[in-house]
Symmetry: C2
Subunit: 686 residues, 2 copies
């Protein structure tokens, strides 16, 4: 597509990828960290402390305020001084910015707000990802640019910063909280010289010249009355009308530099598709990968990714859709109770109705809308197929939900959860660790080793349970020869490690194992006796799925190697030894190289200690001979005491056991009201 040569590859998460751009093109970052946008604020703060410079060879000023209201006010004020200003936020934080956002947009001020999109606290708070927050900002007059992956969020950040200078309309650059902001992926980093090429110095100068300035006094921030406010509100129309072309032009410029071509509305799939999904955010990748498989089986499916959500260009949308489309399912990752329909769904219907009126299309496709992925609820290929299947139905459900079991108002559609499209050439590894045991850090390190020293692509995503430190973490790592486009949790792992021995009695993990998977258990019980310690369901899974079962007493190895209770290097070594991501010797060499790099400053002795631990790991890693029959005399440990009351048995217990996703709507309190005093029934012997 382009002669652009490949830039440096790095393994970073979405927050880092976005902050990298935002920081480099800003004079001021006004911040108030809120999950899942915090990393962007905190990285900017760290970089400023370290003296990292922006593309103008200056260290940006990072200003932390008392709330997002203050951060937005500071941004508004800083912009009025002519400073290139950015901020990072999410959820209620974005809500507190709304009043200033109307002003910033009304004054046609170039700026980008980066949003790791998150749920809004309603029946309960949630720190997780969906689009409720950005949808609540869609009337402010900000342009809104969505992206679907770590690479795209990185690219989109630069497109937004470049386009806002051309358009004078401020931008929200948004991407899925956690799923994109916290997914580690291997991306091409845009080097500073390309950033400089994208940012037009003349426009920066023009922005600075619009500053309030005592040497060139004028008034901004007046009151207007019925006589002229309406005219004033309409006076910016031409600026909004120009945005779509400006953004496309900016996307094209980026494509020339990087080879990565984006479009305002990006269609993927069969050129003669009859059934098309329209959506925003990471779910697009899920649908793309899914329909490749389904189209190969003869279906005619497509997906249209909406990148420029505001201003919404009817003409571009209709041009991007195949003429053959008969049915459209619009997926919104939000919920607006009582609305006539979720926002993207209504936009698509409106655009099609206008397209029909203006003769751009000659018949209205059937359009239905659905909700998915609220609060980082998984959106999987199985669900994507379910959406296509519902769409193809004679009487498709409208205003449907997918991914839950709504047994009350029956909004949910069915899907087959066993539908799976993970390619065989991808290593899919899961690690069950304790909140503070170093498992997540070691896995991030493994991704870095593999991502930056091999041609393999990689992905890491980390799930923390609700109780943070001292509780369970699950790491989901993928490695493979092609770009990893799988923004959902692993359900078919070919490597599973249990880093905390007693989790094996409490947490179902081998239900996620693929046939023939490797299972590594950290246990003080030796290879001869460990089998008999396993609960019945685990033995059954190991036998039924032909699982290769390994055990290591990592705690003893760590203690003997003088590393105290730090088992993470040892378990990491075993992962490399067993997973087959890299040849074993190469892997061990790379671990040792990483150790050398990390610890050399602390002296050769520490390095040798770690080397010894690596070697000892392999010496103490044992394959367990798996009997052909179940011998266990106990099952999984119940999550709650048997005398616990009904609600605890029926709702709390499945949540504790990791089966909260299966709870139907009828089991969840309608108004966020829970019985109190239920913690005492939990059996959390971590």
């Amino acid at each position: 597509m382009s002669e652009a040569k490949q830039n440096k590859l790095v393994t970073v998460d979405g927050g880092n990828a976005v902050a990298h751009i935002a920081y480099r093109v800003s004079d001021i970052c006004s911040i108030y960290p809120i999950t899942p946008s915090s990393d962007m604020s905190e990285l900017s703060d760290l970089w400023a402390t370290q003296g990292v410079k922006n593309i103008w060879d200056q260290v940006p000023q990072v200003i932390e305020m008392q709330s997002e209201g203050g951060a937005a006010g500071t941004a508004h004020g800083a912009l009025q001084t002519g400073a290139l200003t950015t901020t990072f936020t999410a959820s209620q934080g974005l809500l507190l910015m709304l009043p200033n956002m109307y002003k910033i947009a009304g004054e046609l001020t170039s700026s980008v707000f980066h949003v790791a999109a998150r749920s809004i606290a309603a029946q309960a708070l949630s720190i997780f990802g969906d689009h409720q927050d950005v949808m609540a900002a869609r009337m402010t007059g900000f342009a809104m640019l969505a992206s679907n992956s770590v690479q795209e969020a990185h690219d989109s950040a630069l497109i937004a910063h470049a386009a806002t200078l051309k358009a004078r309309v401020p931008f929200i650059n948004f991407f899925d909280g956690f799923r994109t902001s916290h997914e580690i992926n291997k991306i091409e980093l845009i080097p500073d010289e390309q950033i400089r090429t994208m940012i037009d110095e003349e426009l920066v100068f023009a922005h600075r010249n619009r500053a309030l300035n005592p040497d060139n006094p004028f008034i901004r921030g007046t009151a207007q009355n019925p006589d002229v406010y309406f005219q004033g509100r309409e006076s910016a129309n031409s600026f909004y009308n120009a945005v779509p072309a400006i953004v496309q032009e900016t996307m094209d410029e980026l494509a020339k530099l990087t080879g990565r071509q984006y479009k305002l509305f990006e269609y993927y799939g069969d050129e003669d598709a009859t059934d098309v999904i329209v959506m925003m955010g990471s779910g697009n990748q899920v649908v793309e990968e899914t329909l490749d498989k389904l189209n190969a089986e003869g279906r005619k499916l497509g997906v249209m990714s909406v990148r420029l959500f505001r201003p919404f260009s009817m003409e571009h949308m209709i041009a991007a859709l195949p003429k053959s489309v008969e049915r459209i399912a619009v997926l919104d990752r939000t919920k607006e109770p009582g609305s006539a329909g979720e926002p993207l769904y209504q936009d698509v219907i409106t655009a099609l109705a206008e397209g029909l009126n203006s003769g751009l299309i000659d018949k209205l496709p059937r359009v239905i809308g659905g909700r998915y992925g609220l609060s980082s609820k998984e959106f999987t290929p199985a669900m994507a197929k379910g959406v296509f299947d519902n769409l193809a139905d004679d009487k498709p459900k409208n205003h449907f939900t997918v991914g839950i079991n709504d047994d009350v108002t029956h909004s949910s559609i069915d899907y087959d959860p066993s539908f799976n499209i993970e390619p065989d050439n991808v290593t899919r590894a899961m690690f069950f660790g304790l909140g503070s045991d170093g498992t997540v850090s070691a896995n991030k390190n493994s991704i870095k080793i593999i991502g930056e020293s091999t041609d393999l692509f990689c992905q890491g995503y980390f799930v923390y349970d609700s109780k943070k430190a001292g509780s369970q973490t699950t790491s989901h790592l993928r490695f493979g020869p092609d770009e990893i486009r799988a923004p959902y949790l692993i359900t078919s792992a070919n490597f599973i490690a249990c880093h905390k021995s007693n989790f094996i009695d409490q947490v179902e993990m081998l239900d996620k194992a693929a046939d023939g998977a490797v299972f590594l258990l950290n246990s003080p019980v030796g290879p001869d006796k460990v089998w008999d310690e396993l609960p019945e369901p685990v033995q059954k899974q190991i036998i039924d799925k032909n699982i290769e079962f390994y055990v290591i007493d990592a705690s003893t190895v760590a203690r003997n190697a003088g590393m105290g209770r730090r088992i993470n290097t040892i378990m990491q070594t075993c992962f490399f030894a067993l997973s087959g991501v890299l040849p074993r010797d190469e892997a061990i060499a790379k671990i040792k190289a990483a150790i050398e790099k990390t610890y050399m400053r602390k002296g050769q002795e520490i390095v040798e200690l770690n080397f010894k631990a690596v070697d000892a790991s392999l010496d103490h890693l044992h394959k367990v001979k798996v009997p052909s029959k179940i011998s266990a005399k106990h099952g999984m440990m119940p999550a709650v005491a048997p005398q616990a009351p009904k609600f605890v048995q029926e709702v709390t217990a499945p949540m504790l056991a990791g089966h909260g996703d299966d709870l139907p709507v009828s089991m969840i309190p309608v108004d966020g009201t829970y019985p109190s005093g239920t913690a005492r029934w939990e059996k959390r012997n971590i």
Copy 2:
């Protein structure tokens, strides 16, 4: 329709009418006054201070906070104690309430927020009315009830308070800021016993029982994770599904008591209409009155007032539309730059598309959308006709504006401003006064006198220019035998009074005079010489329009009567003497009765002083003999100095002269940036 007998009639403004209800059904009003909702907060505060009781014989607690954020947090907290809680707000104030509103709705909490809908500060702040604020709250999960007049806002407040208890969904009760909140009209007041009938005590008890309570502990306000948040968000669907029927049922109950029947979607017009306007708020009355006239001429027009905007009931909307409809113009009193269309427009299209899909209609009417009335921009019968005319066009403008001249993006539609439907039997009086001269108070008093002591209906609306005290006020009063349904300024007055003599040189006022109107000028110049003092355009209007011209030296009368500079009673007396609203003797008797009532506490002497002023007024009121020819040697005084710069000449001057409405979009700064130092060019010899 009902056997309900008429309740007591009162003349009040919309804010008072709404607060009257809200106060009576609340335990707690948590307030932070913001224009144009301030009166509701301040009245509640006053009533509490005076010991006025709610329907449970308690004095509600009125709590003023530091901002609307605090008021909303207090409301949320108070509701969680089981208190019936209300608040009043608008504009940015509502924006600051959004985070708490998501929580209040998510927790299914019965409450009503009363909103005098107002613009949001964008390119400039504006205190005036449109629906930008409530539209920014449409995703919170609050139900939203719109009303179109003072009476309706009063009724709607009670419907909302009654329905929220049944539905558990909180309500926004909104009405047009200023146009409804500050219009004085004669309404039937719902007496306390009817309020008690509407408010179900069992449901109040149920609300109190849902309070957080140490004697019955439970938890509300938790965090939810990806496993259950989505189910939790969907768990309230059935509550939202139930709202439309609940609201209709509540409307029906009110109808039984009062005879005033409302519907969720209320259609008015030809039963076989081909062209229908859909809208919310006071503009509906304008369209209703306009189409009566046009339908009488053979057109087939209708208007559908949307009362329950959220939850939006597709079925009810379609059922309310005549089957014959071919074309629909949806009018939104808001602007969301970059949207695919304004919100009500998108809702109507969505509902129709779904109605088509589900077979409720067999063909999609052509739907266009337009914006009107931003920031209290006038919406007149002439504009309503313009909207119908555009709709009937072969190629109607979509996303149009009406009421402005958009010479940049050409969104505006044409209309004939001379189109006028004011009935002959309505007295239409305008008063030009000084900001602090008592004109407005006297006019409010006149309305009260006429409204409460005669069978006449009445309306008052007061326009303040941008500079508040010391500047111009224009009072618009209507009196007539039928309900006054004219929520727009008077453009064809049959009585005009100029209370400040030098305004005659500065302010065009007789351009609003009807043929044969009465013009009363307060002037120190006597009846023989006053003609020669008038500027040429005023003389011309008086002659051309056959105006009866009266003069009084009110300042001298006031001084002589020992009333200092207070001319308002004198001018009021002249109005009653000249306007013909009441027979002169009856009018004078009523003024004197009002004086007696007001001043008796201060002693008979003060009463006599005022009586004397009234009688002296009539003695000093002179009819001026109008010559048949213009004799003036001067024109109107220019609003700015002739050496003022271009912007001041072209933009500031028309605004100062009261012609800001005529400024085209191209003349208004795109980003709210104005030249500074322009005040010195103003000639404001007030």
